[in-house]
Symmetry: C2
Subunit: 265 residues, 2 copies
């Protein structure tokens, strides 16, 4: 975790700071109120299959924008944007394996790369908090708990694999309210996919998440599970593309969109 | 249970048949698509307190209409309506005790009676089924399971007491969808009040409901609990009014309103 100053009030400010190397690490407290996005960059040859994969799995992969091949801009999510430099950490994948993490893509950028911006639960966490519902991972200042489930996604070309979920424990009345609130935000995973028994979706032990950190689950609380933007990273790994790029989890693309703009979209 | 022919396509038709004595008993299959209402008739002296009780407890007591004192009409819910004869069964309460059940109120009617029409879960059950979600009590052709909880309602004057809930067992994904669907219908109890552990709201044994019938709960299903229109009957009993009237549970006032009209109201 690299806590960052909450001194960037807009996405544009945050991106300029990242581009200049003044801002690195986790973006969870950056430009509050602005939509942050998961990133997937794949060669044009596989872009139609990946697009189809996202369309077939809208809960884990809600698309906010898709770039033109080779373009480092993505007007659907941000005006002044350089996709090679404006994300505070990139993962480079070769043949389905993580090769390395880099600060920018200036040396790596390919003319056939297509960039996908995918909604992130940061947006609905802010909505939950605004409605007075505690979000345990934020209260405990850790990453959200993520689990690989036994729920298959619908495959497209080489892309497929299991659904990944995030989990937030809540009292039942808050879980009901959370269904209502997150239902309004289909572009950032929408309503939960499961409530209650983790075993039913193939999760053996909530105390041992596959990604992120474990959080405390208190007396009377139900685990509430949402589709997670790490799902497409699993699909990209499974596809074993010769070369592709994602963001480092938690190191998101900060956009110009407002979370409130996504309501009912 | 007195199954009735589903041969009344409008509320007006159903009410005319009831008024003529051709239709008696449970109204669950009558005038499908039309709102059915719980009924509470109290003397004018207690009407302000009962109105306040309903306003303070909108989930169990969502008001569809309130009559003028002594009037046997209630234009907010139905055009051609005689409140003394158009409900297929009335309960007469004296000093908080059930005195008897009657077919009409022609002999009993008082010039100071105020009638309250309160939303009923029949409306949202139809919405659930329309969205492909099974409603176990309908599938098993029994009354819905009702339980007295340890959740207090907010009192007003002599009216108070515990919240009564209905329970429908559902797989978690259906429970999430049911929260979404019933949230759209605040006038018929809206979203659930609880999901999961019955003990947490004071219910000892789901197999032994306080009213209605037990239903099968299958592997992997969660009990989902909604506020229930029997709650105001409990409040009326607790108030020990010298004389008041309700409908017989399941023997509802069939209105002219369409269930679809109540969406988002």
């Amino acid at each position: 975790m690299h806590p960052l100053p909450d001194s960037y009030s807009t996405g544009a400010e945050a991106r300029r700071a990242i581009r200049a190397g003044r801002l690195r690490g986790d973006t969870s407290s950056v430009a509050t109120g602005h939509v942050q996005a998961n990133l997937a960059i794949v060669p044009q040859r596989w872009a139609p299959d990946f697009l189809t994969y996202c369309m077939r799995n809208p809960k884990p992969c809600p698309l906010l924008g898709v770039s033109e091949p080779g373009q480092v801009t993505l007007a659907a999510v941000a005006a002044d944007l350089d996709l090679r430099r404006d994300v505070p950490g990139y993962r480079v994948w070769r043949d389905g394996e993580l090769e390395r993490e880099v600060d920018d893509l200036l040396a790596l950028w390919q003319p056939d790369w297509v960039t996908f911006a995918i909604g992130c639960s940061f947006s609905f966490e802010q909505a939950l908090i605004a409605h007075g519902i505690g979000v345990r991972n934020i209260e405990q200042q850790v990453n959200v708990s993520m689990y690989v489930t036994n729920i298959p996604t619908e495959a497209a070309g080489p892309f497929g694999g299991p659904l990944v979920v995030t989990m937030r424990p809540m009292l039942p009345a808050d879980a009901i309210r959370a269904v209502q609130i997150t239902s309004r935000f289909p572009k950032v995973h929408g309503a939960p996919v499961h409530i209650g028994d983790p075993g039913r979706i193939g999760i053996r032990d909530l105390a041992r998440p596959d990604f992120g950190d474990a959080v405390e689950i208190r007396e009377g609380e139900l685990p509430v599970f949402w589709a997670c933007g790490v799902t497409p990273q699993m699909a990209i790994r499974q596809a074993r593309l010769p070369l592709c790029v994602t963001h480092i989890p938690g190191h998101m693309l900060v956009t110009d969109l407002l979370n409130s703009e996504l309501e009912f979209q």
